[in-house]
């Protein structure tokens, strides 16, 4: 029975997972036992008391106080136990330790941004140290999203007008998947990310260097790295295919028809405007869904991205 419950759950990779799994097993096992009892009774009764003739006489049993009290009180006791247990666990798994390492999470349609205490930023890739409590303080830039790591058994909605948080302590150096579990539109099911658990020294090293894009690279290559890091390709292809947004291929210097019917040439100014203020001029045939990057991305980085787009003819 426990093996079945284990099969149902993903691997437990956070310190809190065990507590939740124990409760899951308890409810599963109790339910299966009770369900088996009820099912056997249904099948046994319908065979044992099957109709033998049209003149069958059945006894008049209108109620039985003892029996009825029993089957009201026993379930009541069971759910009270369950309530106490589940609320205690809930309090444990939702209260972050005071020394937890804090990471800011910003959700946008449809990507995850992670801001670390030294100013480093990563997109769709959360790096955390192993064996150390991590607290995520989360908010959304647009609609409601929900942050979910099945391996850690944590989930919380990410709202546009307030902060919510989750915490966990990863137990092994391994990758786990992050899902968005609150429906948020076209790319909802592609709004996934990965948690990379690193050893403490590796994590510190990453914090110092991992975010830096090599200054010596040519601007176009820096731009390519940025596009990949910012998750732009979720919506903008580089091979000409049309996803949620227009492809980057052949974009440079092309004539764009906007929703209002205007024709604009995709020059530096247009691309810059489309990044920091995407709703100003939306290309005809596409929805106005891109989050604004004003303040998230520097002018130098925009230069690099423009250089990169120029190479995609």
């Amino acid at each position: 029975m426990n093996r079945f419950s284990e099969y149902m759950l993903p691997p437990a990779k956070s310190t809190n997972a065990g507590e939740i799994d124990a409760l899951f097993h308890f409810v599963n096992v109790t339910s299966v036992i009770l369900l088996a009892g009820i099912t056997i009774a249904i099948i046994y009764f319908s065979w044992k008391y099957r109709r033998r003739s049209e003149n069958d006489v059945t006894p008049v049993i209108t109620h039985n106080s003892k029996l009825e009290i029993t089957w009201s009180v026993i379930p009541l006791i069971l759910v009270l136990i369950l309530f106490g247990w589940s609320f205690t666990s809930y309090t444990n798994v939702t209260t972050a330790p005071n020394d937890a390492y804090e990471i800011r999470v910003v959700a946008k349609s449809w990507l995850w941004e992670f801001h670390y205490d030294n100013g480093a930023v990563s997109v769709n890739e959360l790096n955390v140290p192993v064996d150390r409590p991590v607290k995520l303080v989360m908010s959304s830039d647009d609609v409601i999203h929900s942050f979910y790591v099945p391996d850690y058994r944590v989930k919380a909605d990410v709202l546009p007008n307030r902060y919510t948080s989750v915490w966990f302590e990863a137990m092994e150096i391994d990758d786990s998947v992050i899902f968005c579990t609150e429906y948020c539109g076209t790319q909802h099911s592609n709004m996934d990310a990965v948690v990379q658990v690193l050893s403490q020294p590796d994590f510190e090293e990453w914090l110092e260097t991992g975010d830096q894009i090599d200054e010596d690279m040519p601007p176009a290559e820096r731009g390519e790295a940025l596009v990949s890091r910012q998750g732009c390709q979720a919506c903008h292809s580089t091979d000409g295919s049309s996803l949620v947004g227009p492809s980057f291929q052949g974009l440079w210097n092309s004539e764009r028809t906007t929703e209002s019917g205007e024709t604009i040439t995709a020059d530096e100014n247009y691309i810059r405007e489309s990044i920091i203020e995407p709703d100003a001029n939306v290309v005809e045939g596409y929805d106005n869904v891109m989050p604004a990057y004003q303040g998230t991305i520097s002018d130098r980085q925009i230069d690099d991205i423009i250089e990169y787009i120029k190479t995609l003819e």
């Binding site: 009820i38 249904i42 008391y49 109709r51 059945t58 009201s72 429906y183």
Partner: protein, 581 residues
């Protein structure tokens, strides 16, 4: 109430036995025929049938949408439709199944047909209002169809803000349709409450009221009290979308979680609008096919009311991860567990009714047993989801999808089919083919479990709901689930076929094919235009199988009608009966 049994209220009635006529020449289906007569009819039976036809169409459409979803999910990423189309399809599947099928299915379709018959009344209290409800339902449906063909809706049936305020498509038309639909639901509820209070046949006291009517009564109370909240919620949503008034949108100073509170304040009780009438049907069917007194009459009747009441106080369990306070979570978790108690009581009472009965496994009883099994699974997994710590992991995954399909489809839809097969002979005066009914029932059962059991597993493993694309490890579960959906579809096609055949060429049904003691079976099949050719007088409860059939067929002759012409040799019985309130 039983307390009204004061001597003052006892009066003597001269009653005699009215044996229901077999194969009646004149009945409600062949009097007042023609399209115009149907469209303007105030007969609750015909209105019930019009609802039945409508919900059948919506069930078919919603089912086809489900097949589209399941087919698309055969492979990760795109199988044959785009993400945007997929999002519209699951939205419509939910909205149609809930608002246009589940909510009206039992109360409006079966309930309309059976409620006055079970009361021994000629019609509902407000027959014209009843017809108006049907037309309001139709207008709501038209608005929704317009929404589908003018841009569609991709918000999910829950219309969560801010997404629903920002997305494209015709959300406005859709919410307007649901706004209108709500009035139909409220008016039906009011009508039923008044009818049950005021139009019970002589002798039909509250403690003899069929359990189906107790369930419909509880349902009507929820409909009247909860539906206005939905109406105001979608109205506020429309105001925000059209006029830019900030109620839910944080950019305008609103609060999106407030929307969730409003929405679930209706939509959780709505779950009980859907399932409680199912409880009523199951009580009738199990007693009839076990040919035995119902066990714990008052326990079943009052637990329906208890569920209706507690059901109002548990909406917050839809928001355990939505950012509400731990205290609120604790209270809602506790109340959620409490709903389990009256629900469990019902299951045990039905089992106890079967104990030492004379069980006939005809199609309605098979559906009732399937209901017991599937609904119990739905209940236990509900307890799992009510457990706060576990819910954090399972919230918004396929586990939830599987849970509510076990409750709604495994519970409510199975109860609906139990009721449909049970009352089919009374509705149309025709029998259906019992063999094919059982075949289809078993196919649906197998298909259902194949579809939704794997969803429990993949949900526990972390598969989020409303996903167009998914990671490869979930593919075997999705494929099994899709095969199950196809199996169910075959089952439903068989059902549609034998029911259609029964309508066209079915055998004439006897007045009381199941040997039931309930009042609706003591009138011809199909029923006369005004339900009974006499005024029925009730001296026994509807489940008193230890009393002779003759005691269930008593009545007073209608003054305008000469019963001696049709009922030769009826004996005169002189009994005492309490007057109904």
């Amino acid at each position: 109430m039983p307390s009204s049994e004061t001597p003052k209220n006892i009066r003597k009635l001269q009653v005699k036995r009215f044996k229901p006529e077999e194969s009646p020449k004149k009945h409600y289906l062949n009097s007042e025929t023609g399209i115009w007569n149907w469209m303007t009819t105030v007969d609750h039976k015909k209105i019930g049938l019009m609802y039945l036809a409508s919900v059948a169409i919506f069930f078919f459409v919603g089912g086809l949408l489900a097949l589209l979803i399941r087919t698309e999910l055969l492979t990760p990423a795109r199988t044959f439709i785009d993400a945007d189309v997929y999002n519209q399809v699951f939205t419509l599947h939910g909205a149609i199944m809930i608002f246009f099928f589940l909510i009206p299915s039992v109360p409006a379709a079966l309930g309309n047909f059976i409620l006055p018959l079970q009361l021994g009344a000629k019609d509902v209290a407000f027959p014209r209002l009843n017809l108006a409800s049907f037309y309001i339902y139709t207008i709501g449906a038209i608005f929704t169809l317009i929404a589908i063909f003018t841009g569609g809706v991709d918000t999910g049936w829950t219309f969560y803000t801010p997404y629903s305020a920002e997305t494209g498509g015709n959300v406005l038309m859709m919410t307007l349709g649901i706004f209108i639909l709500g009035f139909s639901s409220i008016l039906t509820g009011v009508n039923f409450i008044v009818t049950i209070h005021k139009m019970r046949a002589p002798g039909l006291t509250w403690n003899k009221l069929p359990l189906n009517l107790w369930a419909l009564y509880a349902t009507s109370l929820i409909q009247v009290l909860a539906t206005p909240v939905l109406a105001i919620t979608v109205l506020l949503l429309s105001m925000e979308r059209v006029l830019g008034i900030g109620i839910f949108d944080p950019a305008l100073g609103g609060d999106p979680v407030l929307y969730q509170h409003f929405f679930w304040f209706y939509s959780h009780p709505a779950v009980y609008i859907m399932i409680v009438p199912g409880f009523g049907i199951i009580s009738e069917v199990i007693s009839t096919f076990s040919r035995k007194t119902i066990f714990g009459y008052w326990a079943i009747a009052l637990s329906s009311l208890a569920i209706a009441f507690i059901g109002f106080l548990v909406w917050g369990h839809h928001m355990f991860t939505a950012g509400q306070s731990s205290l609120a979570n604790m209270v809602f978790s506790f109340l959620t567990f409490l709903v389990g108690i009256p629900t469990g009581i019902k299951i045990f009472n039905w089992l106890a009714t079967m104990y030492r009965g004379s069980i006939d496994l005809k199609a309605p009883m098979l559906y009732a047993m399937i209901f017991l099994f599937l609904f119990t699974i739905g209940g236990f997994t509900g307890i799992m989801l009510g457990s706060l710590a576990v819910d954090i992991h399972l919230h918004d995954t396929y586990y939830v999808v599987a849970h509510f399909h076990y409750v709604m489809m495994g519970g409510m839809v199975m109860a609906f089919f139990a009721g449909l097969h049970y009352w089919w002979p009374k509705m149309f005066g025709k029998m259906y083919n019992e063999f094919w009914a059982r075949v289809s029932c078993i196919l649906v059962f197998i298909g259902f479990n194949m579809t939704f059991l794997p969803q429990f597993v993949m949900g526990s493993q972390g598969m989020p709901r409303r996903y167009f694309n998914y990671i490869d490890q979930f593919q075997p579960f999705h494929q099994l689930s899709t095969m199950g959906a196809y199996t169910m579809f075959v089952g439903f096609i068989i059902m549609a076929s034998y029911l259609t055949y029964s309508l066209l060429k079915g055998k004439q049904a006897p007045a009381n094919p199941w040997g039931s003691r309930a009042l609706e079976w003591q009138t011809p099949s199909p029923a006369p235009l005004h339900n009974f050719d006499h005024t029925p007088v009730i001296i026994n409860g509807p489940y008193d199988y230890h009393k002779p059939m003759s005691e269930f067929q008593l009545g007073i002759a209608d003054s305008h009608h000469d019963p001696l012409d049709e009922h030769h040799g009826d004996q005169q019985v002189d009994i005492k009966t309490e007057t109904s309130a």
